[in-house]
């Protein structure tokens, strides 16, 4: 048998020893990670270690990344099973703020339901809903200030709703109608609103992550006070853009919050394919010296508290923070896939972190600030608001109606000034 520890001796010693013989060749095997269960199996989340709410410390914002390595492997939680807000991360939000947060999440859920249906009715080509992930973007948005800029992916519309963006404009974008603020150029839900701190969604994955770092660097170069917030899903962390973003954010200590929304599924691919041998996605940040935390993404209070902590770090010039939001995508990836083909149908019921809307609702009831009755009433009110926004948007057209951006619009805005070749092409098109 070879003695592997012979290799560990120093050079002067090893030169006097017998040459090390190679071990017997072993046939190599490719490792391809598999999820715990597939369709037909019993949902199993026993691999996700979830500490009790209130258990994780809240360090000072100027803490050294090295000192909080454990936060990259734990889960920060505020709401416990009894609906109480507990521990050092609790207490940042007033009752009225919490009620507002509940409203935002309920609005997003109602809007999603209506738009999903509209897609099925042929009023648009495509839709992506947030079911189960509403807390992540809705709560995070409340930690931001005017002028801050999000670089989102396609499942953070809560940033817009909680930021006061108009539901009518959202629906017009989805319908690509005459009032579409993006003139029919973008796939549904690829919103853009500079005014609301929401960078144009690419539709390519991960490209925005490094751009957020650049935007944050620009703010620092100009001695501005605004910060940037990057968003990415678990699957897209495998893209080079993600890794480049961590390098640049680390090197230049950019005032940016780097969010990973781990909703367990990248279309049909479970998160283990992107994560590989790393314990968690948050742990990716440790090698870069970036403070990295995991948070219960279905806990509105926890998401908000962690967002605030990270934003404060950025604002105080302490550099980037990486946050992994542990959540679950209850619905399909988009209107183009059926999850029954790749995961057990009842998996979402087994998800151990519950439903973000119900958890916040229960918390408010426990506090005496809410009731089942008021919740039902509010649900009905919100549905009315969403339906009237939808109706208004539909009065400006839907995808296949006559009311849509013109062919002439198609040629505009490629450049600030239309170059001659494009002018000629527009003439040729006769528009």
């Amino acid at each position: 048998m070879p003695m592997p520890d012979q290799n560990l001796t120093d050079d002067t010693m090893s030169s006097r020893r017998e040459p090390v013989r190679s071990p017997e060749p072993v046939p190599l095997k490719l490792h391809v990670p598999e999820p715990a269960v597939r369709p037909g199996g019993k949902p199993d989340f026993s691999n996700i270690r979830i500490p009790r709410a209130g258990q994780v410390d809240r360090p000072n914002v100027d803490v050294d990344a090295e000192a909080i390595r454990d936060l990259a492997f734990s889960v920060i939680r505020v709401l416990n099973r009894d609906g109480e807000a507990v521990g050092p991360w609790a207490g940042a939000l007033s009752e009225s703020e919490l009620l507002e947060g509940l409203r935002h999440m309920m609005t997003l859920r109602a809007f999603d339901a209506r738009m999903q249906m509209a897609q099925r009715q042929g009023k648009t080509s495509f839709y992506m809903q947030h079911m189960g992930e509403e807390a992540v973007s809705c709560a995070f948005r409340k930690a931001l200030l005017p002028g801050d800029m999000n670089f989102p992916t396609y499942r953070q519309a809560g940033l817009l709703i909680a930021g006061g963006y108009s539901l009518v404009e959202m629906a017009c974008q989805i319908y690509s109608n005459t009032h579409d603020p993006l003139k029919g150029r973008q796939l549904p839900v690829m919103y853009s609103s500079r005014e609301h701190g929401f960078f144009s969604i690419s539709g390519n994955l991960a490209t925005q992550y490094i751009q957020a770092v650049g935007w944050a660097m620009a703010s620092a170069i100009k001695n501005d006070t605004k910060i940037a917030v990057a968003w990415i899903g678990d699957g897209a962390t495998a893209e080079s853009d993600f890794h480049a973003a961590l390098v640049f954010a680390s090197t230049y200590r950019a005032p940016v919050v780097l969010n990973i929304v781990n909703n367990q599924w990248a279309i049909s691919t479970f998160q283990g394919i992107a994560r590989g041998g790393s314990g968690t996605f948050a742990a990716r940040g440790l090698g870069f010296g970036i403070p990295s935390l995991r948070v219960d993404g279905n806990d509105y209070l926890a998401v908000h508290a962690v967002a605030k902590w990270a934003c404060e770090r950025a604002r105080r010039n302490l550099g980037p923070t990486l946050i992994e939001h542990v959540t679950y995508r209850v619905g399909a990836h988009s209107t183009s896939d059926d999850p029954a083909g790749y995961r057990p149908k009842t998996e979402s019921d087994a998800w151990p972190l519950g439903d973000p809307v119900i958890r916040l609702k229960n918390h408010l009831i426990v506090r005496g600030a809410w009731s089942e009755e008021r919740h039902k009433q509010t649900e009905a009110e919100i549905l009315d608001t969403v339906i009237s926004a939808q109706k208004e948007a539909e009065s400006y057209g839907t995808l296949h109606s006559e009311q849509r951006p013109t062919a002439r619009d198609m040629f505009e805005g490629v450049f600030a000034e239309m170059p001659p070749h494009l002018r000629r092409q527009r003439q040729e098109a006769g528009v």
């Binding site: 490094i210 935007w215 170069i221």
Partner: protein
């Protein structure tokens, strides 16, 4: 008027723009303290500070990616990719992001960004330091592509590129950095100090993007060229004693089609020259445009002279390079057709 090398002219353009506009920032690999491997940014960090001129990690995707974010914020980044051959990791950020940001956001976000890249061969750089990827940019809608052929143009065009509200790819033929190259690698290099186009105005001056320059007036045949090949074509025409009209395109997109059309209608013949590989090269686009615009004025088939469709070789560099002899033969072939 002061004479400058092309590197000095490019550096001067960035210097002028950095001093006029605080939003102009310059960065890339080895660009900061050292001043770039070709010294194009020498002295800029000392003059403008580390927050406006700095070194980056070796990540072309990162360099262009942060530049897109900075441009969206409102800065005007002018970044360097050390060799055009290294730009491929950044290609997605250029094609899918920089080029389309204005369009997809309906003007809410724009991308006034310049990506400078030393380009082309003739320096024994082998396949990873010699490529001419211009056609990979001209094929993309939403970006402009510029290739200067001399110090004066390099400064004037780079200033226009930095002032442009949209992304501009600025390809610098590295063989021209120190002097015009006549295509004869075995002859001594003429320095820019002995060339008229080495005379470069001080201070701010801009050459608009989208205007070609006629380097030689002629009646017999029109040669369309850009970058290094402008000078090689001039040598070829002189050595073959052909009264060629040589058009230096300067900007490939937007293209000055009017100047091309006027010339080809006058001469009735057209030879297109580029260093990049032939198939699907920018010459194919030029060829299509010329035949559409000038078909009834053409007296001979349009001929393209380009790099062979092989990777850029090392030892065989001068077998690959479309030198004066090949261009001369093409000119004669066109005239005899």
């Amino acid at each position: 008027m002061p004479r400058r090398t092309m590197i000095e002219a490019i550096r001067d353009a960035m210097d002028v723009m950095m001093s006029r506009d605080d939003d102009v920032v310059v960065f890339g690999e080895d660009v900061g303290y050292f001043g770039g491997v070709f010294r194009a940014t020498q002295g800029l960090q000392a003059k403008y500070g580390t927050s406006r001129c700095f070194d980056t990690p070796i990540s072309e995707l990162g360099i262009v990616g942060i530049a897109v974010g900075m441009a969206a914020y409102g800065l005007k980044p002018c970044v360097e990719i050390q060799f055009a051959d290294y730009m491929y990791p950044a290609y997605d950020q250029i094609v899918s992001e920089a080029a389309r940001l204005r369009y997809r956001s309906n003007g809410q976000f724009t991308c006034p960004l310049v990506v400078r890249m030393p380009t082309g061969g003739g320096i024994f750089g082998g396949q990873t330091h010699s490529q001419s990827p211009e056609a990979l940019f001209t094929h993309v809608c939403g970006i402009k592509t510029v290739v200067p052929s001399n110090p004066r143009d390099a400064k004037g065009l780079l200033i226009s590129a930095i002032e442009d509200p949209d992304p501009v790819i600025f390809l610098e033929p590295k063989r021209l950095y120190n002097g015009p190259f006549d295509g004869h690698h075995d002859r001594p290099v003429t320095p820019w100090s002995k060339h008229d186009l080495g005379e470069v105005e001080d201070g701010h001056f801009a050459i608009p993007l989208g205007s070609a320059a006629i380097r030689r007036q002629g009646q017999a045949v029109t040669i369309l060229a850009y970058g290094t090949m402008v000078h090689v074509a001039q040598t070829a025409a002189a050595e073959a004693d052909i009264d060629a009209e040589i058009i230096d395109l300067r900007t490939l997109l937007p293209l000055d089609l009017d100047t091309i059309e006027t010339s080809v209608k006058k001469t009735g013949r057209c030879v297109i020259v580029h260093e990049a590989t032939l198939t699907s090269g920018f010459g194919a686009e030029l060829c299509a445009l010329v035949q559409t615009r000038c078909f009834y004025h053409l007296e001979a088939p349009i001929v393209r002279v380009a790099g062979w469709d092989t990777p850029y070789p090392h030892a065989q560099e001068w077998d690959y390079f479309p030198g004066p002899a090949r261009i001369g033969r093409a000119l004669i072939e066109t005239l005899e057709a």
